[in-house]
């Protein structure tokens, strides 16, 4: 008699946020093997960036790779093309860029925590966290003028300056959110449904984090100090109070805590930036067409994103290659699934915070 049964999860499933298909081979309750397919939302963005859009427009196109880390994608592209064009930005531009990146991280992490709570069966907590997330969304909307697609960064600078009103709103909302996050840390360390039952579930060891190329909160929860913000000096993160946050066990419980603590660190960074913002130009003028190639790494909410650009002195780029964090994390995910209970699969999946539209682009 056949011992294993295959249970599909996806490509449409009630616990899935995005179309991805997993085929779990299970022996009784345990998952023994996983097969996956991530290519359900392929939109041909890389091709469009080299054939349809000019280099000045590509920033707006790559923002549509992902709705959550829109700003990170545009930023990575912009930093790459600025490297080719040899544009030097000033302090104010860098600070405003970090501000938006960190606000993005806060709301993305909150969304992930909300979904982890939902997938563990705690619907009320999901609603509550999504409600708290509005505080950050409001700041982003006030600064950029739009709620989801910010289109805030452009080649040579940023599109909008920050007004005193926005600054005030940001300070109030961040202070409010800080208190709420403290409260959430309490809930994610002491509550049975969201915290205690997930100790040692879906764990990735320190060695495996390196072996399977884990990135972002997934790696940091396992204690691996992998963070582009600490490794690269492309944006002045050290000046604004960045701190590496590490977990120990690499389980769902630790991943949640790492995310919560990172939110606290991001709030602190945003407050530092807002209080230290100087007067200055928000746009540097530039001339010429890009010629050359560049590699850019940037820490997105889910881990490192990587952009390779190749330009040949015309308005059209020759190659745009985007590598997203979820793509790199798939081997790690598969490893974690093996040996886990099938019933835990949705919660484990939510705790990875996978972004499939990014991956398939």
């Amino acid at each position: 008699m056949k011992k294993t049964i295959t249970i599909p999860l996806g490509s449409q499933h009630i616990s899935l946020l995005e179309p991805v298909r997993f085929n779990f081979s299970c022996e009784n309750e345990k998952i023994t093997d996983v097969d996956y397919n991530v290519g359900f939302v392929h939109r041909g963005i890389e091709k469009a960036c080299t054939e349809k859009f000019e280099y000045k427009q590509v920033g707006y196109v790559v923002a549509r790779v992902c709705g959550l880390c829109a700003i990170t994608h545009t930023m990575a592209y912009t930093l790459g093309i600025e490297h080719i064009l040899n544009i030097k930005t000033n302090k104010k531009i860098d600070y405003l860029r970090i501000l938006m990146l960190e606000l993005d991280r806060i709301h993305s992490h909150l969304l992930c925590l909300a979904h982890t709570a939902e997938n563990s069966g705690f619907e009320g907590m999901f609603m509550k966290i999504m409600g708290d997330r509005e505080l950050v969304m409001d700041i982003q909307e006030a600064i950029s003028g739009n709620r989801v697609q910010f289109d805030f960064v452009c080649i040579g600078g940023v599109n909008r300056d920050i007004s005193t009103e926005c600054e005030k709103l940001a300070f109030t909302n961040l202070a409010l959110l800080d208190k709420k996050v403290d409260d959430l840390i309490g809930k994610f360390t002491s509550n049975w449904s969201t915290a205690l039952k997930y100790k040692n579930i879906g764990a990735l060891s320190y060695d495996d984090a390196f072996n399977f190329n884990a990135l972002g909160p997934l790696a940091r929860a396992a204690g691996a100090a992998i963070d582009v913000r600490a490794e690269s000096s492309i944006l002045p993160y050290k000046e604004v109070g960045y701190k590496m946050i590490l977990g120990q066990n690499g389980d769902i419980y630790d991943r949640n805590l790492v995310r919560l603590k990172e939110i606290k660190n991001s709030i602190l960074m945003c407050q530092n930036i807002l209080s230290g913002l100087t007067e200055g130009e928000i746009l540097v003028k530039f001339k010429g067409k890009p010629n050359g190639e560049s590699f850019t790494r940037l820490e997105a909410p889910r881990g490192e994103i990587f952009y390779y650009l190749n330009a040949n002195g015309t308005n059209m780029l020759q190659r745009v290659r985007i590598k997203t964090p979820t793509f790199s994390q798939i081997p790690g995910m598969v490893e974690i699934f093996k040996g886990s209970d099938y019933a835990d699969a949705p919660a484990i999946l939510a705790s990875f915070d996978p972004c499939m539209s990014c991956t398939a682009k």
Binding site: F53, K56, Q57, Y60, V61, M127, G131, E134, D138, E141, A142, S144, G145, N146, Q149, D151, C154, N159, R160, S163, E165, N191
Partner: protein, 104 residues
Amino acid sequence: MIKSIIESFSNLFAKSETINYPYEQIAKFKNYRGLIEYSADECIFCYKCEKVCPPDAIVFKPTKEKNRLYEYNPNLCIYCGECVRNCPKEDLALWQSEKKPKII
């Protein structure tokens, strides 16, 4: 445990998080990015806005007269404001309003 019970009860009487739309209006922030507006009288027909627009929402149609006819598709527009920033007569010929497109 006791803390969560108290919280659950206090939530029963707390103010709702959501807005009672459409009876209550959603507050809009200042400088909200809305429809692009155009004035043919001020335009110098340099066609820069048409060139920079990523989704081709602004198109100048050829006509029998010298100047082409400005056509704007609000459903294609991504409200990035790139056209306005590139217009040599920003705020006079082309500007970004806070209006929303009509729902057909």
